[in-house]
Symmetry: C2
Subunit: 126 residues, 2 copies
DNA sequence: GTACTTGCAAAGATTTTGCTTCCAA
DNA sequence: TTGGAAGCAAAATCTTTGCAAGTAC
């Protein structure tokens, strides 16, 4: 556990929105200007491999980057508004049931699941 | 409607697996060797914009590329085995109910939805 | 002390853009 | 004929790799 990793993990856990690698690097550099972008990518890969962060695309609303969030106890769905860009999160017991159905009917053991819906949020409908 | 577009659309619709831009280009070149890779990207962007193809990442099992499939009448879930790489598709009325719940409870009008689950398929469990 | 991590530079992979020429309608 | 599309080359974006030097334990 290096101080670079401690710093990056702290930023991800304290984030109030989804960060991509560049966002994370820029925030980290405010506290440690020598921290290299490559270290960000390597740390994200490590955290992802260990299941501590989830990787999202948010439907590539703004290019091909990936966003990261600390894994929480309960899976949730991301709703991305195609007009205003707002990202909402949504939890549902139906979603939990759906995962159970997949595990039972296909005998597929789920370790990571990503649900992203695009459309128009309540504020962006005519 | 150019012959390049006709060719690319035909390949996507006839595909028996998920193709990325390079796959598509290589298949297209067999029939029209002058077809440019850029045309593939531009055509995919157009089809995506018009909702005729869906873009997937399949959890980036092998790098950061995108995969495309012709949009079908019914949404489905992609199950990616982290060990053998097999991709399964799964349809479920629970999934339809879940979408309905989101639309009702959040008043969010869904136009595109992507569900990708990673884990271990029936053949890859101990 | 040693195995693992970092920084740096460079390369790699994927996708996009500018611009000219061409073609479908 | 004309506006949009394709081809080509080059650039932009995002991510990974090789290697020497540094650091946690």
């Amino acid at each position: 556990m290096t101080h670079q990793r401690r710093l990056l993990v702290g930023i991800i856990q304290g984030a109030d929105r989804h960060l991509d690698a560049l966002d994370l690097w820029q925030k980290a550099r405010q506290q440690d200007p020598t921290l290299n972008k490559v270290t960000v990518y390597r740390t994200l890969a490590l955290l992802k491999k260990h299941g501590l962060v989830d990787e999202l695309d948010l439907l590539h609303l703004q290019g091909g980057r990936h966003y990261y969030e600390a894994r929480t106890t309960r899976d949730h769905i991301h709703l991305a508004c195609l007009r205003c860009g707002r990202i909402q999160e949504f939890e549902s017991s139906l979603f939990e049931k759906l995962k159970g159905q997949i595990e039972r009917e296909r005998r597929f053991r789920i370790t990571v699941v990503r649900v992203e819906a695009g459309g128009y949020c309540d504020k962006c409908q005519d």
